[in-house]
Every structure is written in structure tokens, then in C-alpha cells.
């Protein structure tokens, strides 16, 4: 009996050690796909396939933006780099380049069978260093319930909106929202204004550049005053419960609103659930063009990281067109390689892909990247929300509110030492 037990233990030991022998492991630190559902999807559907294919196990480590930078800098400065691959937004890479904490990827082998969109490749070269390989993109768009097209203002056609013609302006949006309220008896335009919602991105990345030409630079300018007068008028046609919505999918699905603006990932559920009801349209234009936000996430390798070749294998796998489509399906983040965009041929995702393409190819575009303000990011967003609350809800004088908040905004940019844009 004892012998049998001993043999069994020995066998189990051998079996376990044989699994470990030759198994290589990568640490993949990411600020992206951290919400539980996305994280699970990454591990179970994306990274597990890579392990099956190559035998390399990947430890996916989610990190907040602040923790990410601290960890990479600490590893690089201590000369003990354990992280093999990193995923972060453009702004984060910009900062790591200034700290000389990422490898220049220009000398790495070519990635076959994929054509990266040129804009993203241009962005990925930061001050002469190829800091990352573009991985996914996201943006914020407007989703329309097709019923809303019945109430378009005079002189504006569905085609004007879809093409993003010069007739599709913020004034036209106001008129449309007004028509919707008249027809439905209640406001039917919604914005994710609850805490946790991304309404501040609409303010600094969409309407501010459209009216003032910049996200923050002209915060208290003459043009900004016109913008705030506009927002005060628009507010009458925004669904009042918007201040309690952090995600517009549900209000769209329930029919509480017919027109909404939100992050693509947060609209995916509505559009994939009822693909026949919704369509995605580009943002309107203002006096200074069509402001919109471009979110670019890239994959990079920390300076002096171990096993660079293995890390590169992971990057090669993650940027394949087929992987891009898988990521889009599970998360609503879009591929950045042309081949992948062609692979999405039908359903809700096709509607989203088309909408995003329409927005980026519409005339007078003014793409913006979210400023990389590190720990001040939250305060930056709060300044825009506060301005809205004070000027639009509390009806305070914008001439007083804007200069007051602009001062703090300037201080933040100065503290982080990046130019205001």
C-alpha cells in the first residue's frame, strides 16, 4: 500500500514538473481592459489562444494609470525589469518616452499580413522613438434610433448627417433635439452625465474644440462664452434623467432616448442587441470644425525587459487582424489594422465600425487625444463638469465661473509640464 502511494506521489510530481518544464511565462501589464468582464474576456478568449498556439503562458496584470507608470518607472530605474509587455494609451507612452523607459521598436522584425492605419503609425513615433505598436482604438460617437430621423429639422437630411456634411452642425442638433421633444412630449436626447459617465469627454473633447479650436487653451475665451450660451439652450432638450445615467445603452434600449452620445464600448450592448433599430453617426461640427476624441492604445516593451523576442511574439499575436476582430467582439474597442475592419461584415459591430469610420473620415475633423495628466486626470475632468453644473444648472454667470476654473486648469497643465492644447 505504502509503495503504491509513493509511486503515485512520484508520478504526480513527474507529471506536474513536466508541465512546468519548458513553459515560458510573460508578464503583460495593462491599463486597458481592466473592468471585470473585459479582463475575463481577455484571459479566456484572447490570451488563452496565444498560450495554446505557442505554449507561452501570459500573466495579465491590470493596473490603474497611476500604478502603471509608477511600476514601470520603478522597475526600469531599479534595473530589475520583470514586465515583458505593456499596454497603455498614447499619452502614457509619451510620458514613458520622456523618462526613457520604453524600448524603441523600430528595429524589431516586421509584422506580416497587416496594414496599420497611417494616422496611428504616425502617432506611435514619439520624438523619433517607435514607442508602441498601435493595438486598439476607441472613440465617442452618437447613436440614433432610426425613428428619430422622422423629426429632422428642415433642410437637413439623413444623408447629410451620415456623411457629416457641413449642414450637420451643433445648431442643427439643437433644432433636432427640440423637434424630438415636441414630437415625443419629453426630451429624447441623452448624455451620460452621472458620475462614472463620460460626459466630461463630450465637453472637453467634442464641443470645446468645435467652438474654441482647443480642448483647454481657450477655456474662458469669447468663443467659450458662445459655447456655454449654446449648452444652456441645449439643456432644455436633454433628458432630465441624464444626470443619473452613466451608460447610454440602457436608456437607448428602453426607448427613453432616441439620440445619445457615449463611448463606443458603452454603446455596443444597445447596438448589438437591436442592430436594426440603431445607427451610428459622426459628431456635429461647430464654428471651428468637428472636434472628436481619438483613443489609441498601443503595445510596447519596457526598457531592458527580459525575453524581448517572446514579448514581440505576444505583440505579433495581439495585433493580428483576427485577434483585432475578437477584441472588438468582446469589448467594443476597434482594430487599427485595415484587414480587420474588412472582416466585420454584418450585425451591430458593423454598424459601429461604419459609424466610427464615418466620424474619422468626415470633413473638417479635429481629432484630439485625451491630455495625459497622470494623477490630475480626474481633477481635469471635474473642472468641465463643474463648469456645466454651475453655468447650466445653477445659472451662474459664465464670465465669473470660467476665468475662475481656467486658473486651476492652467495650474494643472503647468504642474504636469505639458503644453495646453
Amino acid at each position: 500500500m505504502k509503495k503504491l502511494l509513493l509511486m503515485f506521489i512520484l508520478l504526480a510530481f513527474l507529471l506536474l514538473s513536466s508541465i512546468n518544464i519548458g513553459a515560458e511565462k510573460l508578464i503583460f501589464l495593462s491599463t486597458q481592459f481592466n473592468p471585470v468582464a473585459e479582463l475575463q474576456y481577455m484571459k479566456e478568449n484572447i490570451l488563452s489562444e496565444f498560450t495554446k498556439e505557442t505554449g507561452i503562458t501570459v500573466e495579465f496584470v491590470p493596473a490603474s494609470y497611476a500604478d502603471f507608470v509608477n511600476r514601470i518607472l520603478a522597475e526600469v530605474k531599479a534595473g530589475k525589469v520583470v514586465t515583458n509587455v505593456i499596454a497603455e494609451l498614447h499619452g502614457g507612452f509619451d510620458y514613458l518616452v520622456s523618462e526613457n523607459a520604453v524600448e524603441d521598436l523600430s528595429g524589431m522584425p516586421k509584422l506580416p499580413k497587416r496594414t496599420f492605419i497611417k494616422t496611428f503609425v504616425d502617432y506611435s513615433k514619439i520624438r523619433g522613438v517607435t514607442a508602441y505598436i498601435p493595438w486598439t482604438q476607441a472613440t465617442y460617437v452618437m447613436a440614433v434610433n432610426k425613428e428619430a430621423f422622422k423629426y429632422l429639422p428642415e433642410g437637413l437630411t439623413q444623408d447629410d448627417i451620415l456623411r457629416g456634411s457641413i449642414k450637420w452642425t451643433y445648431d442643427a442638433l439643437l433644432k433636432w433635439a427640440e423637434n424630438l421633444k415636441k414630437a415625443k412630449g419629453t426630451p429624447a436626447f441623452g448624455l451620460p452625465m452621472a458620475p462614472g459617465g463620460l460626459f466630461h469627454r463630450f465637453l472637453h473633447g467634442y464641443i470645446y474644440p468645435s467652438y474654441t479650436g482647443f480642448q483647454a487653451k481657450n477655456f474662458a475665451s469669447k468663443e467659450a462664452l458662445i459655447l456655454w450660451r449654446y449648452l444652456s439652450k441645449l439643456n432644455d432638450f436633454i433628458h432630465p434623467a441624464s444626470t443619473t445615467w452613466s451608460n447610454m445603452s440602457e436608456p437607448l434600449l428602453k426607448g427613453e432616448v432616441l439620440l445619445a452620445w457615449d463611448h463606443t464600448a458603452r454603446l455596443t450592448s444597445a447596438i448589438t442587441t437591436k442592430p436594426n433599430d440603431f445607427i451610428v453617426i459622426p459628431a456635429p461640427i461647430g464654428p471651428k470644425g468637428r472636434g472628436y476624441i481619438l483613443v489609441i492604445a498601443g503595445l510596447g516593451i519596457p526598457k531592458n525587459a527580459p525575453n524581448k523576442e517572446l514579448g514581440w511574439k505576444l505583440i505579433e499575436y495581439l495585433t493580428r487582424p483576427s485577434t483585432g476582430v475578437l477584441i472588438l467582439k468582446g469589448t467594443g474597442f476597434f482594430p487599427v489594422v485595415k484587414e480587420a475592419q474588412k472582416e466585420v461584415t454584418e450585425g451591430g459591430l458593423k454598424i459601429l465600425v461604419d459609424g466610427v469610420t464615418r466620424q474619422s473620415s468626415a470633413p473638417l475633423g479635429r481629432p484630439n487625444l485625451i491630455p495625459s495628466l497622470g494623477g490630475f486626470g480626474g481633477e481635469f475632468s471635474n473642472i468641465y463638469r463643474m463648469a456645466y453644473e454651475r453655468i447650466v444648472f445653477r445659472k451662474e454667470d459664465p464670465n465669473k465661473v470660467l476665468p475662475e476654473l481656467a486658473k486651476r486648469l492652467e495650474e494643472i497643465f503647468k504642474q504636469v509640464n505639458i503644453p495646453m492644447n
Binding site: 452613466s246 427613453e256 475632468s381
Partner: protein, 280 residues
């Protein structure tokens, strides 16, 4: 060896408290009294207390607690006295009343939201009955008063059972002999209530009030789900500063302020409501 046994028996609980309560508490204190670049500063407290956000959150928390706690106490007391009559089927009623105890704040919030939202059950019912033609809005910055009513209703429904259970247990522990003696002496029902039930119920009332006030100052999940920051409350502000603005120093300052206010209330209750004659 024998003299160490009590300490050894207490040790697991003390170690648990030290790690999971003591250490975070200490960290919160350190964060509240410091800021990046400063080891000790009172600036966080000055900034928080002088801010409009704090004043609003503080007065809203007081307002909601001031309305909800007395209402809960009187509802729970009435229900407990009623159920304590032990009529046929009273156990069934206890189950029904205590159902919300099993719900988390978030679930309660989501349920209230599905009742009161513009496409919710209530509006659909009223529209189907032809009482209204367009939905009544209960949510939104411009409908703060209605939001407050929904919050109060939701809180009443959710947390009254807790007070009810404590008071019912208190009522059941009152010796029936007192009542019988009072009846023999010819006391009226009101006299029995004010001279026997209430004084003997004081310890339960104290526990219920203490628990409810503590919870009322931490109230957050339900309100956050229903109205976001339309009606800011203290715990909500702490959460907002931590998760949205990512300023742990200010968030900890809010947490310390909530703890201090709760302690003051607890001290006040214990001082005024303690049944000293029971202890002696």
C-alpha cells in the same frame, strides 16, 4: 499557561481587527492629514469643510437621516407592537416584513429605479390607466425634490426591517408578568405602553438608533444608483473623490469626518438613552 488562555482566545479576533480595520483606519488618518509633498497638514480639512460640495453633502446627509430615522423608528415600533400580539399567521407577516433585509443597498436602489424611472413600472401603470399621458420624471438634477422623495421611500423600505427586528426582539424579551401586574392595578393601554414597554425597550431602541444613525451617515449605494451626485451625501463624496477624481487625501478626509460625526452621535445616544437602572 492558564493566564494566557483568554488572550490567546481573543487573539484571532484582535489580529483580524488590527489588520482589516486598524490598519486601513491608520492609513486613512495618515492620508487625511497629509498631501503630496507634505508630511503633516490640516489643509485637506480646511479645503473640504470650506467647500460647497461638503456643505451640500453634509446638509443632505443630515436632512435624509433626520427624515428617515424617526420615520423608520415609528414604523418599526408600530409594526413590532402589532406583530408582538402574536395573532394567527404572525410569523408569515414577519417573513414578509423582513424580506428587504436580504437585499443589498445596490439591489434596493436598482429595484426602486425600475419602479420610478420614466419608463418604469409606476409610469407605465399610470399611463395604462390613462391617469397621465406623458411620464412623470422622478430623476434628474432639476427634479431634486422628487429624487429626495424616492430616496426616502427606498430607504424606508430597505432599512426599516432592521429596526423592526431589533425592536421585536426587545419586545419579546419583556416579561409578561409586568403587563399582568399592571392590568391587575388597572393601568390603561397607554399607561402600559409609556410606563412599561417604552422604558424596558430603551436598550433595544438605543441599539436600533445607534445602528441606524451609523448607517445613515454611511448611506451611499442606494443614493448613488438612484440619483448619482444630484443629491450629494458625505459617503458618496468620499467615493467620488477616490474613484473619479483619484485624490485619496480628500477622500480620506471625508471618511474621517464621517467617522467623527458618527462617534459624536453615538456618544450622545449612549449618554441620553442609557438605562442606568438596568445596569445597576
Amino acid at each position: 499557561m492558564k493566564k494566557y488562555i483568554p488572550y490567546l482566545l481573543c487573539a484571532p479576533a484582535i489580529i483580524y481587527l488590527a489588520i482589516f480595520i486598524g490598519y486601513p483606519l491608520l492609513q486613512a488618518f495618515i492620508l487625511a492629514f497629509s498631501k503630496p509633498g507634505y508630511s503633516f497638514t490640516l489643509e485637506n480639512f480646511v479645503n473640504v469643510i470650506s467647500s460647497r460640495g461638503f456643505k451640500e453633502a453634509f446638509s443632505n446627509t443630515l436632512l435624509i437621516s433626520g427624515i428617515v430615522i424617526p420615520l423608520q423608528l415609528s414604523f418599526a415600533l408600530t409594526l413590532a407592537i402589532f406583530v408582538n400580539k402574536r395573532f394567527k399567521g404572525y410569523m408569515f407577516l414577519i417573513y414578509i416584513i423582513t424580506i428587504p433585509l436580504a437585499l443589498s443597498e445596490i439591489t434596493a436602489g436598482l429595484m426602486s429605479y425600475s419602479i420610478f424611472s420614466s419608463m418604469g413600472f409606476l409610469n407605465k401603470l399610470l399611463i395604462n390607466l390613462n391617469i397621465i399621458s406623458t411620464p412623470i420624471y422622478f430623476f434628474g438634477y432639476i427634479y431634486k425634490f422628487r429624487e429626495l422623495i424616492v430616496i426616502i421611500l427606498s430607504e424606508l423600505w430597505r432599512a426599516t426591517p432592521l429596526v423592526f427586528v431589533i425592536l421585536l426582539a426587545g419586545l419579546q424579551s419583556i416579561d409578561r408578568e409586568y403587563m399582568e401586574a399592571a392590568e391587575v392595578d388597572g393601568a390603561t393601554s397607554w399607561q402600559k405602553f409609556t410606563k412599561i414597554t417604552l422604558p424596558l425597550l430603551k436598550p433595544s431602541l438605543l441599539s436600533a438608533l445607534l445602528l441606524r444613525t451609523t448607517f445613515a451617515f454611511q448611506v451611499f449605494g442606494n443614493i448613488w444608483i438612484l440619483v448619482g451626485r444630484d443629491i450629494p451625501v458625505l459617503a458618496g463624496e468620499a467615493y467620488y473623490w477616490q474613484t473619479e477624481i483619484r485624490n485619496s487625501n480628500i477622500a480620506s478626509t471625508y471618511a474621517i469626518i464621517i467617522a467623527t460625526i458618527t462617534l459624536i452621535f453615538a456618544f450622545f445616544y449612549i449618554k441620553t438613552l442609557r438605562s442606568s437602572y438596568l445596569e445597576s
